[in-house]
């Protein structure tokens, strides 16, 4: 196939999946959050159960004036949301939805994931700095401090998976989870890494992922009760929409990473490998849905933690625990 045609098809597909997914997650958040608070949530938009609420919100945001403060650094200010959005969408380039359903099967897939997803910190810092607003600046700096602190346990948790799988290619990691672990008679048992002893790693990854997303209980960068809206304070219109969609898209992205690394990705135990290309996307989306619900669930349950508690949790607990986890996994890998 023509290279450019293939590229465009892949781009449109990834953008479509990510943005539609983000809208679905926004709707899920509105609805699940309301019901957790004994409310009904969106009800009228779209006719039934308010299914069109995210679309209506998006249209409303598009109509708003795209304001920028007079003192703002216009170029950086305007560019920041797209940096965040880009880093989120680029994650999906290497996520395998099936053995052949991957936009680019890099040998260094896991490395690429971590590298590209930390670019969003840059976008947030750009937004905070360029807004010429004290709330934005404090929010941006808090975001930088938090994301750097939680990037470490995230990376270290992934290192343990890479050690256990023996490869950095995400397809390779999924195949390592799909292959036979042991056999009972003739029945071949395969298990994802979560069941192969990565409990600690998975817990650390999920905690760090919530912190990376700056969601409650780790939403100090936004903390509306003290920082108005953090680095988002000055944004309106389409650029705010970009940040908003980016937040939810990165929820999907981090859930997809967690599902691929710990929950077996597109592979489902008992499903023959021949069907993986057809059923794979469905299986992966199901796993993503479970993890996204988990993110929504804790957001509507837990209170926000303080900035110093947040830093202490990362540096005193998660990073030592992650190093310990690597040591254990590496020992088992060498011994068995």
């Amino acid at each position: 196939m023509n290279f450019w045609l293939e590229l465009i098809i892949k781009l449109v597909l990834v953008m479509g999946v990510v943005l539609t997914g983000a809208l679905v997650v926004i709707y899920a958040e509105l609805k699940a959050g309301s019901h957790m608070q004994s409310r009904i949530g969106p009800y009228y938009a779209g006719g039934r159960w308010g299914w069109a609420q995210p679309l209506a919100d998006g249209l409303k945001f598009l109509q708003k004036e795209d304001l920028a403060p007079a003192e703002a650094d216009r170029t950086v200010y305007g560019f920041a949301p797209y940096v965040v959005m880009m880093s989120t969408i680029a994650v999906f380039v290497v996520i395998p939805f099936g053995p052949d359903l991957v936009a680019a099967d890099l040998d260094l897939g896991a490395y690429f994931l971590l590298a590209i997803s930390s670019i969003s910190v840059l976008g947030i810092l750009m937004a905070g700095w360029a807004s010429a607003n004290k709330y934005s600046l404090v929010g941006g700096l808090r975001a930088a401090a938090q994301l750097i602190a939680y990037e470490l346990p995230l990376v270290l948790a992934v290192v343990a998976v890479v050690v256990q799988a023996g490869t950095m290619s995400l397809n390779g990691i999924v195949e390592a989870q799909a292959e036979t672990w042991f056999t009972i008679g003739t029945f071949e048992v395969s298990a994802p890494f979560l069941l192969k002893g990565q409990f600690i790693g998975f817990a650390i990854f999920m905690i760090a992922a919530v912190a990376e997303l700056s969601r409650i209980p780790f939403d100090m960068p936004i903390a509306e009760s003290e920082l108005t809206m953090g680095y988002l304070t000055e944004y309106s219109g389409i650029r705010f929409t970009m940040f908003f969609l980016g937040e939810y898209a990165s929820m999907i992205a981090l859930s997809a990473i967690a599902a691929t690394l710990y929950l077996g990705g597109y592979a489902l135990p008992g499903l023959p490998g021949d069907f993986a290309n057809f059923a794979g996307p469905g299986v992966l989306l199901g796993k993503i849905a479970v993890l996204v619900f988990f993110f929504i669930w804790i957001r509507w349950t837990w209170p926000r933690i303080r900035e110093d508690q947040l830093q202490r949790l990362a540096w005193h607990w998660l990073i030592p625990l992650a190093l310990f986890n690597i040591a254990i996994v590496a020992t088992f890998k060498v011994v068995f």
Binding site: S38, W297, W302
Partner: protein, 157 residues
């Protein structure tokens, strides 16, 4: 560095169990415009006025924390009830307005009225498109009197 993090187990998971339980339960919501909500009898919906009981004493207007009650009146001569008696002055109510855009529904006016001229009514559907229309005059306040529920019957011993 004074205090270590106290890991809040199992409280965190109790909270998650609670939100999960709440989520699967049916939300106790009345879909208001389609389904009328029935307020409790003693709900503080709107204040109604019984003009005959009012003596223009101004206590309600003075006690109102929001100063949302406007009263004007005059003294009118009325003949004595007994033959040969002196004509008496009687206070007559000219204006009694309550501005519901200012009212905070504290009910102090109802409590303070010495002649039971003010009553709470549970009626609540009187929203307006213009703020000025929330100023209810004497006639409108009297209309609300029809919606005042009967006082609760005495408790049996």
């Amino acid at each position: 560095m004074s205090k270590q993090i106290q890991f809040p187990f199992p409280g965190l998971f109790k909270g998650m169990w609670l939100t999960l339980k709440t989520m699967v339960k049916k939300a106790p919501v009345t879909m208001y415009p389609q389904v009328q909500e029935i307020p409790v009898p003693r709900a503080r919906g709107v204040i109604s006025l019984d003009v005959d009981n009012c003596t223009v004493c101004m206590l309600c207007a003075r006690e109102c924390p929001d100063w949302c009650i406007y009263i004007e009146g005059h003294k009118a001569e009325q003949p004595s009830s007994k033959p040969g008696g002196k004509p008496r002055a009687r206070a007559t109510l000219d204006r009694f307005d309550i501005d519901y855009s200012l009212c905070m529904y504290c009910g102090i006016c109802v409590e303070v009225c010495p002649f039971d001229a003010l009553y709470w009514s549970p009626e609540y559907e009187y929203s307006e498109h213009e703020v000025a229309n929330l100023l209810h005059n004497k006639g409108k306040l009297t209309e609300w009197l029809a919606t005042v529920p009967d006082p609760p019957s005495l408790e049996s011993r």
